[in-house]
């Protein structure tokens, strides 16, 4: 046990001291934070100056209703739009346009709105920097409203009547569970997909790290020196647990920073006036189940990746063999939307009981709708048995493989290694 502790400690310390780990651990949340701050900035960034606007009305009817629609105020109390002048039906449009262009270039005005003779043609907004979205929105709305209102008036209908007729109803989705009802705003699906991606990425990423770590001991010829001091099985376990410890450290950092980000995210959402982020809460039971299935899956896949690392002598060979361990995980990613759509179908139930898929698919099912207890217990039991068998087989392959150099063994050869004493 003391030796196992030493191996875990070395593996853990060397791993968390690498530049890649430090950068990955800190940079990922920082990038997330930067994105969040950028969104908050963009959402909250409101112009502080009115847009100085000239309206050229070739139709002779729309300038007034549009001007009425542009009555909103900026935060500092100034109007959003400052209608510098309204030019109705100019005699020589080309001259007017030339003059307006010159005024824009001289920064006397910011933009001019060109209303066509026939409202079916395009309206044009001319400005120096056509990227001031926060003002283009309201302007476009005012134009639409004025045109639609005019069309409705021709048919003798009032705009407000249409608005009240067309007002949508509010369909609330209610999710029923043992603890009662809660309003469903799509967060279950969101959590489920996030969970699948998280489990898939973590199992794959740390599996490959374990494989590389074993391979490194072979390529640097450290292996035989090590097994003169410890049993290969201790080395294998120490390696898997050491990488696991590093993985959990990284995850803890990410989770804590994500929690912080969510607080910022909620602030951003409030800034938008919406409630997109509120109401997302992950049930503790799901966290618990996901953790259990993740740990099982972690040992299952890490030991497979470790055996592959032990069987190969170089990176290229390992890349060719790693599909054996990757295939079931990739399959989960291909099939998960089917389970998402119908978590109680026979196919979903059967797939989620298969140990190689259970860590991802059973966790997914639990997040959507708690399956019957026997299904969870059976799937956990099968996962446990398979994990133990896989670790045993991996240890065998590992024990033989770590001393083999040269040609990459075939699968048949690796199976034969299982019988070596």
């Amino acid at each position: 046990m003391r030796k196992l502790g030493l191996i875990i400690k070395r593996e853990y310390l060397t791993r968390i001291k690498t530049k890649g780990f430090i950068i990955g651990t800190i940079l990922v949340p920082l990038i997330g934070l930067a994105f969040c701050l950028l969104i908050i900035f963009l959402v909250n960034h409101k112009p502080t100056h009115s847009m100085r606007l000239v309206i050229v009305d070739n139709s002779g009817q729309l300038a007034q209703p549009i001007t009425q629609g542009l009555d909103a105020k900026l935060e500092n109390g100034q109007p959003e739009f400052n209608i510098v002048e309204t030019n109705v039906r100019p005699a020589s449009p080309d001259v007017v346009q030339q003059d307006l262009r010159a005024r824009i270039n001289a920064e006397k005005i910011d933009a001019y709105l060109w209303i066509p003779r026939d409202p079916k043609d395009s309206f044009e907004l001319h400005m120096r920097n056509p990227d001031n979205f926060s003002l283009i929105g309201p302007l476009s709305g005012a134009v639409d409203q004025a045109v639609i209102s005019a069309r409705l008036s021709e048919r003798g209908v009032h705009l407000d009547d249409i608005k009240s007729i067309l007002r949508g109803t509010d369909l609330k989705l209610m999710k029923i569970s043992e603890t009662g009802e809660a309003e469903e705003k799509g967060q279950s699906i969101g959590i489920a997909v996030a969970l699948v991606v998280l489990l898939y990425t973590a199992l794959l990423m740390y599996g490959i790290i374990t494989m590389r770590s074993v391979l490194e001991e072979k390529t640097t010829r450290t292996m035989e020196v090590l097994i003169s001091a410890v049993r290969p099985f201790e080395l294998l376990c120490g390696k898997i647990l050491g990488v696991a410890a590093a993985a959990f450290t990284q995850f803890a950092v990410w989770m804590i920073s994500t929690a912080l980000l969510f607080t910022y995210g909620a602030l951003a959402a409030m800034g938008m006036g919406g409630t997109a982020m509120s109401g997302v809460h992950v049930p503790i039971s799901l966290v618990l189940y996901a953790t259990i299935f993740f740990i099982g899956g972690y040992f299952l896949y890490s030991s497979m990746f470790a055996a592959i690392g032990a069987a190969c002598s170089n990176e290229q060979d390992a890349q060719q063999l790693q599909w054996i361990a990757m295939a079931p995980l990739v399959f989960c990613m291909v099939i998960y939307s089917m389970v998402l759509n119908d978590p109680t179908s026979t196919a979903s139930v059967v797939l989620s009981e298969i140990p190689f898929f259970a860590p991802v698919l059973m966790a997914l099912r639990i997040s959507l709708q708690t399956p019957p207890a026997w299904q969870i217990v059976l799937s956990l039991f099968l996962l446990l048995v398979t994990t133990v068998v896989t670790i045993w087989a991996s240890a065998k392959i590992y024990r033989v493989g770590i001393l083999m150099y040269g040609k990459r063994p075939s699968l048949v050869e690796m199976f034969r290694w299982l019988r070596y004493s």
Partner: protein
Amino acid sequence: MDAITLENVTKSYDAVTAVSDISLHVRRAAILGLLGPNGAGKTTTIRMIMNILVPDEGSIQVLGQPVSDNTRDLIGYLPEERGLYPRMKVREIIIFLAALHGLTEAEADRRAREWLEKLDLAEWSEKKLIDLSKGMQQKVQFITAVIHKPPLVILDEPFSGLDPVNAATVEEIMIDMRANGSTIVLSTHRMEQVERMCDSICLIDKGHKLLDGELRAIKQSYGKNTLHIEFTGSDAFLKNPAIISLTRLGNGVEAKLKPGADPQEILKAAVQENVSVIRFELLEPSLNEIFIDRTSRA
């Protein structure tokens, strides 16, 4: 009690028999030269003593105990396929391996500093292994094999990559260890080193033991049948029916004589042909010659 006892040990990989029915007794406080051509089965034998491989048949004892995971800590091992974590610091890696062999980290640290001083590596102790020259890495490897003061040390080609000064230092340390009661198994192709250091040898080839015993006794059993001649001039006198085989050395020849041949006849022939003889000595065969003789005969 022997340091190592092998009783009828056999090990096969699929169709290949790597070690076939080898028995061997290595006495304590001695240096054994484990010799044999490439692929003879030396590494397999050593790995079985280390309990890295398990023999198909036969039994192995180390210091009176059957080999097990517990006997590993009694042995210091410098494998042929060796290397250390390239990105770890020299002192850290020595402490790590010493701790794996059962030392407390404080004790491991103390001894690591001592050894680094002794082998002229003190100023490199905080450097990464990858920054060291091959010879320096080799010395670090040697330290990791002996730092836990094991009663049995197995060294596979310990001198490879070492310059003559460092090789002499390592040789001296090995002689010291023997004086302090350690047993050393030395596997090497450098026969002159074996001849200088080893008390006994075991020669294996193609998995079979060809020869083992005290080095002196083995050489004596061959008798004084080898002439070492250094000379300048024509070598025509060497075309003599009394000479069975001839090995040309840098400064002369080593000539194996027919049983019962008179060396004086050869000296006479040399003098008659006006060859200037610098050295003319009748000796036991060199270990190199015994090695070639036995392995080519098998």
